[in-house]
Structures are given as structure tokens and as C-alpha cells.
Amino acid sequence: MTAYLDVDARPILRSGGEPFSVIMAALERLEKGQGLRLYAPFKPVPLFAVMADRGFAHSERALDGDEWEVLFTPVEAKAETGSPGGEHAPFAPWPQPIMELDNRDLDPPEPMVRILAAAEKLGPGETLSSLLSREPVFLFPQLEKRGFRWLGGFRPDGATYELTVRAPS
């Protein structure tokens, strides 16, 4: 029987906030084998792919008033044994970053230039991470055009944006 840590994103979203960092922070706190129970005012479809990449399967249940309860359950067994496809496995977690950039004190758009330059050096499926002081909205389309995938969110302090970029495998 899996134990679940509860995260309620409803008040954060209602006050106009971004719950992504809170969810990511909760993930850090999870013990081995523990899952995450998320309450949200809508079905958080984009999160499903993110959580799948981190090795969680989801099951959702509609509550009253268009609200949702989503259970994210770890599927370590699958991720650890791995399939012949390796990186293509739906639940394969991303590998540890091979590069960590701290771009917090650079003038815009210098962080974008550095991240793109560094990303070009990644091998297939490799990742890099970067700290930024703002959400790099103009970087995302450039990454997508080049086939990179990315995950990002503010840390709970709200001042540091953490971005992970993964090269196409």
C-alpha cells in the first residue's frame, strides 16, 4: 500500500500563484516508495508528462465543483529495470545534469545565449541545469525549435528559477 504526501494547489492557484515549485519541493521530501496526492482546481494535464519523466504514474478523480484529486504513484520498478528502449521508456527519469550554470546575475538576454550555447554541447539525452533570476520566456521557443525538452519552476523562495534542459535522444 503506497503512502501519499498531500499537496493542495487550489489556494495557490486561486491567489494567482504558480504551484509548480511547491509540487517540485514536495517531490524532494518524498521518502522512497511514497507517492504524491495533489488537489487542483482543474485537471493538471501538463504535469502528467513532467511527473512521468520523474517516474510517477498518475490516476485522477474528479471532485465536486470541477476540482480534481490526482494520485502520483512511483513506478520505480519499471524505471530501474529499464526497457530496451532506454531513454524512450515513458517513465525513465532524466539523468543527472552534466553541467550546472548559475546565470542569476547576468544581464538579459545573456542567460539565454549561454544556455543555448551550453545545450548545443550536450550529448543525446543528456541534461544541463541552470539557475536564473527570471522565467526565461523567450528561451523556451528556441529550445523547442531545436528539439530540446525542458522543465522549470521557481524555488519556494520565489526568487530563483530552476531550469533543466534535456537534449533530444
Binding site: S15, D105, P108, E110, V137, P141, E144
Partner: protein, 445 residues
Amino acid sequence: MIGGSISRWTMTYFAAALTWLLAVLTLMIVGIGHPATDLAAPDTLVLVHVVCIGWLSLAMCGALFQFVPVLVARPLFSERWALPALALLTAGLVSLLAGFMALGGRLPSAPWLLPLGAVLLVTGFSLVVVDLGLTAWQRPTGPARFVLVGLASLCATVVFGTVFAFALAGWAGRIGEVVLARGIPLHAIAGLGGWLTLTAMGVSYRLLAMFMLAPDVEDRQSRLTLVAGALAVAMIVGGGAAAIGFGAGLNTVLAIAALLGLVCATLYGRDLASIFRTRKRHHLELNMRMALLSFASLAGTGLLGVALVSTATLPMHVGALAFLAVFGWLSGLVLAKLYKIVAFLTWLETYGPVMGRAPTPRVQDLVAERRATKWFATYYVSVWMGTLALLAKEPDAFRMAAVAMTVGVVGIVHEIVRIRRLEDVASPLRLPAGAVAPHLLFAKT
């Protein structure tokens, strides 16, 4: 895609807007409209609508098509509506201006021109409002809320304008006549204060924080600023319409709205101060230094308004007050930000695809700030001189100021064209392999 892509038609809007700005400066130099004629004269209506619709609204719409998706991190509802909207707005404005010229006897009488212009403008602005409104509505936080209130004010402005256009053609019956006789201040304040000013404020929060590396203004803090502004507009539109309906005087409504407007401007000043105080980037680029002059002009507009009201001379000098608000605050801010936005978008469009694969210039390498500074300085000084000339009732001095403003604007436009053509980028970096030179009037995205 998450909303940071380049809007294809933003440059087209900017080019159309700058063309209308040059047209309005020409009108002022040759002495068409206020102060050469009365504030309510048809020639003044031509002047006012060229500046508010042709220049300011088109520039604002172009900027919003680019930045609303960035504000909410969602793609634009429909990129395909932007160009038809521009065509409708341009045709509507031309028809409206022809209608005013017919009213003033400059063209043969054609009463249908004004309603036709109004219908075209309503259609064009509807495309803009629906497109931007549905985009902003997806995540209505902080600056996006300012844009939503701005768009609502635009709707109110357009409704009043349409009633006037039909009334002037004699097609709006008695109610239309009454609204036309008393509603003009409401139309003007909803447009300048609600649509243009609140929207400019909202976009400035994000642009300033983005370009100066400052944390965003807290939602709770900027919400107070917006509430004051929104109440002022609601007072003008709702209270004003009720006063007209009941045949009551407008003075109380105007006084309360003015007070709320001052509170809004003061709170905005506080928000800006906190952005400047908490910025990580200490060197201010030209666009930011010039934006400071437009903030000073906004403060000046507030002070001048208070001074004119307390000396009971507002009706005499309302033209000077509006001139400072339109050219010192709004036009100044738009010109300063255009200078940066065009450079940034041109850089992103040209070098984004090759970034990290080949050496690329910095955004600052696309501009020549020292050369541009003198054009901006010429512009602001001549705007302030023009305001003084209007206060002193010196039409000749005003025309001289308009000539100087034109020199400044032509200089700025020339700088913007140079940016777009990458003329200031040193040649080895100018077009690395794989980069394509941008088109002057639209993005090749």
C-alpha cells in the same frame, strides 16, 4: 509553445503607428486643429483621432500582440486576426478623418463617412479585444489584469465614439444628441486614462522588471494601483453615463474620478520606485533613462491638473494638460520602449536560430545609444516647450515646438530603421552563417 515567440505583425503595427505620428506632427506644424482652432472644432477632432487611434492605439496593439502572451505565458488566442484588425482600424480611421473633414467643410458633405468609420473601427477593435482578452484571461495575474481593465475601457471608449459618430450623422435620435452634447469628456478620459494609460502601466511593470533584472512587483501591491485606476474609469463611464441620463451635472463625477486618478498615478509612482530600487542591473539603458522622462511628464500632468483646478483655470488650459499627457507621458513612453522592443525582437529574430552555434552580437550592439540620445532629448524638451507655449497661449511658439518635436521623432524613426536593418552591427558578426536578415515591416518567424 509558451508565449515567448515573436509576433509576426508587431513591426507592421509599429510602422503604421509611426507614420500616423509623423502625420499628426505635420498637422500641428501647418496649424490644423488646436491651438490654431477651437478645442471642439472638426480640425481638432482630426488631430486628436490621428494621435489617439493612429499613433497611440496602433502602437499599443502592436506591443500587446507581442507581450500579452509573454505576460501570461500562453500563446496568443489567434495570430491570424492581427493583420485584418490592422486593416480594419486603418480603413476606419481614414473614413472617420474624412468624416471630420467633411464636417469642417474641407470635403464635400458625406454624413455616412462617420458611421462607416465607427463601424470599421468597432470591428477592428473587437478583433483586438477578443484576441487579447481571451489570451490575458487564461492567467489574469498582475500586469495582465491591467491589460484586461484597459481593454474594457477601450470598449467603453469605442461605444461612446460610435454614438457620437451616428449622432453627428443625424442617425442617433434624441438620446444620441444628448450623449453627444455632454459625453465628450467621458469618451476622452476613458480612452486616454483607461485604455492607453492603464495598459501602458501594466505592460511597463513587466518590461521594466525584465530589462532591469528586478523582481516583479507583488501582486497585492500593484492590485491596489489598478483598483484606484479601475474605479476612476468606472466612475467616469458609469457615473458619467448616469449623470447624463438623469440630466445631472458632471462636476462631482469628474472630481471623484480625478481624485482616484491621482491616487492611481501616485501608487504607480510608488510601484516604479520599488522596481528601480530592487533592480540588479545598475546601469540604465537609454530606453530606461528616457522612460524616466515620461514618468516625470506623468507626474507633471498630475501636478498641472491640480494647479489648474485649484486656480479654476482648467477649462482654459485643458488643451495644454491633454498635450502633456499625450506627448510627454504616453508618446514619450511608447517611443522609449519601441526603441528597446524593436532592438530586442530584431535581435531575437535574427540571431535566435543560430545562438550557441555561432558567435552573435549582443542586443546592445544593434543600437547606437549616444546618437539616439540627442533625438530623444530634442523630443522631450520640445514637448515641454510646447506645453508651456499652450499655457501661454502662444500658437507660433507652439508650432516651433512642433517642428522641434518632428526633428526628434524623425531622428528616432531613423534610428529604429537602422536597428531593423542591422546597420550598427559590426560586419563580422552581422549575419553569421544560418542567420537571415529581418524584413523591415514584419517578422519572418
